[in-house]
């Protein structure tokens, strides 16, 4: 049920600022230069060029239609989980919070 994003391995020249690293970047000796999850800036990219890093694995940003589909999937799942308790006022607050949290996480 985890929403692991798609990743793409690209030559450094094709990576644009703003792209998010899917894997940490390490030099030839295995020392980590940049951690996974980092949104790359022009400064990062320049530094990687200086260090002769050729390829990067970046996260493919989900397209809006895919994102909408995923949000709907989460909504249905959460409503299903609360199928016996959604009319409790106490559960209602939890339902709304869980829905907001899980949809936010999916992005």
């Amino acid at each position: 049920m985890s929403d692991t994003p798609d990743t793409l391995r690209l030559p450094l020249d094709e990576v644009q600022p703003g792209a998010v690293l899917a894997e940490a970047v390490a030099d030839a000796r295995g020392t980590v230069l940049l951690p996974a999850g980092l949104a790359l800036t022009e400064i990062h990219l320049a530094s990687l060029r200086r260090r002769d890093i050729a390829m990067l694995t970046v996260v493919v940003p989900p397209d809006p239609a895919e994102l909408a589909r995923r949000r709907e999937e989460i909504r249905e799942r959460v409503l299903h989980l609360f199928r016996h308790s959604a009319d409790d006022p106490a559960a209602q607050a939890l339902l709304q919070a869980v829905l907001a949290f899980r949809q936010e996480q999916a992005q």
Binding site: H84, D88, A91, A93, L94, F101, R102
Partner: protein, 283 residues
């Protein structure tokens, strides 16, 4: 299937369950002591370290990003120095209980999901406790052990429990109410018997007994927090069970926690982070 057992039958057969490991019981009993002396701690650390299965599970969690350590801890002793006795005590207890209380074969019962759910509940209980300024450790342990009566039923009455699970699934009913229909009592009552048998601290016993009916537990006790934490673990799908459902919530118990929207969102995020660390214990 034989005649339904009574709660007294269950209590009588508890002795035949796998023993709760001595280390775990001793740790539980130290929960009520405010200052364990350092000699005791060293002794305890040495004895825990002899059990490699427990040590390995604990170190996996201690080295997870949640604790944000600069360097790797390689022994229980190191872990106590860096994380503190109470954090390590909780982890050791969890690892010891998991290693020593196998559920046994019961159709439809997943041990893996069981442990995921209780670790998720423990994480959620701590996350709520943090917002309320409540001590973390007892909440972790109460969450970890809240469904332990279910494990006992699985081991003692595998056929009847399998039928209970199947009926709950087919009729899409809550598991606790289906237990009441099949046994005449639920896992919370069995948990209370176990707590008595093993002399659990009173606040833990109260949470085990009343996590589905927190209004009957001690006012201001742990039952209300575990009650809500149980629902949070279900709502976040932490056990990854397709047919799970959020159990009915007692409005007064939830209201007594006083969590507003922002606090609730923070609790959810904190729960997820803690759980991602605790789940490493499952290997």
């Amino acid at each position: 299937m034989n005649e339904a057992p009574t709660l007294a039958d269950v209590a009588g057969r508890i002795r035949s369950l796998p023993a709760m490991p001595t280390v775990a019981l001793e740790l539980l009993h130290t929960l009520t002591e405010t200052d364990a002396s350092s000699a005791d701690l060293v002794d305890l650390a040495r004895r825990i370290a002899q059990d490699q299965a427990i040590t390995a599970r604990v170190l996996r969690v201690a080295n997870s990003p949640f604790y944000g350590l600069q360097s790797r801890v390689a022994s229980i002793n190191d872990a106590i120095v860096v994380l503190g006795f109470s954090a390590v005590r909780s982890l050791v207890l969890a690892a010891a209980v998991m290693a020593s209380l196998p559920g046994g074969p019961c159709t439809g019962f997943s041990q893996e999901r069981f442990w995921r759910h209780v670790l998720g509940t423990a994480a959620a209980a701590q996350a709520i406790g943090k917002r309320l300024g409540r001590p973390s450790e007892a909440l972790f342990i109460a969450g970890l052990l809240h469904d332990i009566g279910r494990l006992a039923l699985v081991v003692l009455y595998p056929a009847r429990y399998a039928a209970t699970l199947a009926a709950a699934r087919e009729q899409d009913r809550g598991l606790q109410e289906t237990e009441l229909a099949f046994f005449g009592f639920d896992h919370a009552a069995v948990g209370a018997s176990l707590a008595e048998h093993w002399h659990f601290p009173a606040e833990i016993a109260d949470a085990l007994a009343w996590h589905h009916q927190p209004d009957r537990g001690k006012a201001g006790g742990l039952a209300a927090i575990v009650h809500y934490a149980d629902a949070i673990a279900q709502a976040l799908d932490l056990d990854e069970s397709e047919d799970s459902q959020v159990a009915r919530l007692q409005e007064d118990a939830v209201a007594s926690l006083g969590l507003d929207w922002d606090a609730l969102l923070a609790v959810l995020a904190d729960t997820q982070t803690r759980f991602d660390s605790y789940r490493l214990m499952l290997g």
